[in-house]
């Protein structure tokens, strides 16, 4: 985890030198929060990257926005709200739990329960043996098991 942070911070500060005038290295706490927030937010230009990873100009602008709001004393929740107010829940890698995302969150559990139900039913079905063997059948089975008779 620590290494991940180091890598992220290094990646970010590298970008910052090139793109902005505000050196965040001065305040490691701000930088850490910025990276933390930025990695939770999806970049809308290159949708499989977070704002922290992306070099798209929008991502750079949004990082600047995050930095400024941290400096202005905004809480993480306020900053995330700022983003979702403008870009929607789509920017959150972790979507909120609400009516429209119910299926998204509970779907896997539902499927798991369904799977468990199927397993239980199958196993139970297996346990219920058929009618007991007749004496004849039993004798033949024993013969087969002993290898005396070659069954077809």
């Amino acid at each position: 985890m620590k290494t991940l942070w180091v890598v992220l911070l290094l990646a970010l500060t590298g970008g910052l030198h090139a793109q902005t005038a505000v050196p965040t290295e001065d305040d490691p706490l701000t930088a850490k929060r910025e990276v933390e927030l930025a990695s939770k937010l999806r970049c809308l230009v290159c949708q499989n990257q977070s704002i922290a990873d992306s070099h798209a100009s929008l991502a750079v602008d949004l990082r600047r926005q995050i930095r400024e709001q941290i400096a202005a004393g905004k809480s993480d929740a306020e900053i995330v709200n700022f983003m979702t107010d403008r870009y929607g829940d789509f920017v959150l890698y972790q979507p909120p739990f609400k009516a429209t995302t119910l299926l998204l969150w509970l779907g896997p559990l539902l499927l798991l329960a369904l799977g468990a139900l199927v397993v239980v039913r199958v196993v139970r079905g297996r346990r219920q043996a058929g009618p007991p063997l007749s004496d004849d059948e039993r004798a033949r089975a024993e013969a087969l098991l002993a290898g005396k008779e070659s069954g077809q």
């Binding site: 809308l44 230009v45 602008d61 979702t84 107010d85 403008r86 870009y87 929607g88 789509f90």
Partner: protein
């Protein structure tokens, strides 16, 4: 009989999944629904591209329907949709305000001089902050804002003749009546 029904479950599950995936083929992941639709358009005061000393306040548009088109001279798809705005502008149906997004003012002016200027006026968003307020992520983007200053429609990417004829113009007309 019961067993046969049980075997149909995976088939049904497959069909449902296939329908969703098939639908996904025709969805555009770049078109992210804007949370701003139905909400008040963010107010702004921005300099005019042609007269940088002159500030334009969006308040002035209250009481009329207007189109807000985000463009930039570096944006290739903007070039593609531009003739459509020129055409719409000649109809004088609705004011079209341009937001020149993260652009160089001289390049922007040259672009308008070369390709025609359909905009009632163009405001400058050189640092992209106004763009962020409007949730802009892929230029060109177009907003339709009603008389009360509420965003009623957002078109992401270049408009097409169909979008203008079937969505934008009818919506503008309808909003102008109300």
């Amino acid at each position: 009989m019961k067993k046969a029904a049980l075997y149909l479950i995976p088939l049904a599950a497959f069909v449902i999944l296939a329908v969703f995936l098939l639908r996904g083929l025709w969805l555009n992941p770049r078109e992210v629904p804007s949370p701003l639709i139905g909400k008040a358009a963010p107010m702004f005061e921005r300099p005019n591209l042609h007269q940088p000393g002159l500030q334009f306040a969006s308040k002035q548009m209250m009481g009329q329907v207007w189109i807000f088109n985000v463009w930039a001279s570096w944006c290739t798809p903007c070039r593609q949709e531009h003739p459509l705005w020129n055409e719409l502008a000649t109809k004088k149906l609705v004011p079209i305000i341009g937001m020149n997004y993260k652009d160089d003012a001289d390049a922007a002016k040259k672009w308008l001089a070369d390709l025609g200027d359909p905009y009632t006026l163009t405001i400058v968003d050189d640092d992209g902050r106004l763009g962020i307020d409007y949730g802009v992520y892929g230029v060109p983007e177009t907003f339709i804002i009603d008389k009360q200053g509420v965003i009623r429609h957002k078109h992401i990417g270049p408009v097409t003749p169909e979008a203008i004829e079937k969505q934008i113009v009818p919506l503008v007309r309808e909003l102008q009546k109300s």
